[in-house]
Symmetry: C2
Subunit: 155 residues, 2 copies
């Protein structure tokens, strides 16, 4: 229902939200979110262009969220990389439907509207609630760490 | 949100539901629904394999719905050609999430569940309500007809 690109963008944003201590490189995010590095680089570019990420070049550089997780919604992320488009005009181009969608396309548009409403009301901060049974992408263990859990417990 | 394949399948099913008088050829359906004929042929095969269409060879043959529009739902059509899959296990393959999805994937699964509910409760018969302002694919005029409306007014 959401595209692969959107899925990857959401993973990256959630990971950055959960790890705000310092900028993360594309390679670090790719590894943590299990996304092919080349693919993720393009997704991160899209998120940056849309103003959702800041990128910083050079040593110690990388990506950070451009605003607080409590000020960013799932819907913004979806729309930044692979937007779900509401149906405003007849997809078949019928002039007779310009004023009123047929019932099929009304149903499909209603479904998109429902998703828009759900994702718009879901802040990224909600997705990193440390009290939830499964922490965001929690099984990731940075290379060289022994447990990967020390980072989690600090949140 | 729904794929191109699903959109085309829904158009074909709605058109067949609205025109039950006789079998329609793939070419006739393609023309009416404004779908490339080669693409539609594959979609119709998928719908037939899923048991939603009957196909009849030979002169006067073509496709018909395999059951009444009041006994077929939008969800069945979606699932027949390009299924929306509920998320049961962590898409990243994390064992720690086997018992509980992280909040991101829970949100995405909730959205799919909502669409499943909406489309499951929508019968195809609802999509061809003749009293709706825009009849299904209503601007279609069969070749050789002058108005294209005589067919509509018989419904």
């Amino acid at each position: 229902m959401i595209s692969q690109t959107t899925e990857y963008a959401l993973r990256a944003v959630v990971w950055l939200a959960a790890n705000p201590e310092k900028p993360l490189t594309a390679q670090q995010i790719a590894e943590a979110t299990r996304v092919p590095a080349g693919y993720l680089a393009k997704v991160l570019q899209g998120l940056s262009r849309a103003g959702l990420l800041n990128s910083q070049r050079g040593l110690g550089g990388g990506f950070t969220l451009a605003k607080a997780p409590s000020a960013m919604t799932m819907w913004e992320v979806v729309q930044a990389v692979d937007p779900l488009k509401r149906i405003k005009d007849c997809p078949l181009g019928f002039e007779a439907h310009a004023g009123a969608l047929c019932l099929l396309h009304q149903q499909v548009d209603d479904a998109i509207a429902t998703i828009e409403k759900q994702f718009s009301s879901c802040k990224i901060s909600k997705l990193i609630d440390p009290n939830h049974a499964a922490a965001p992408l929690c099984a990731y263990q940075p290379k060289g760490s022994k447990t990967g859990s020390s980072r989690r417990s600090r949140r």
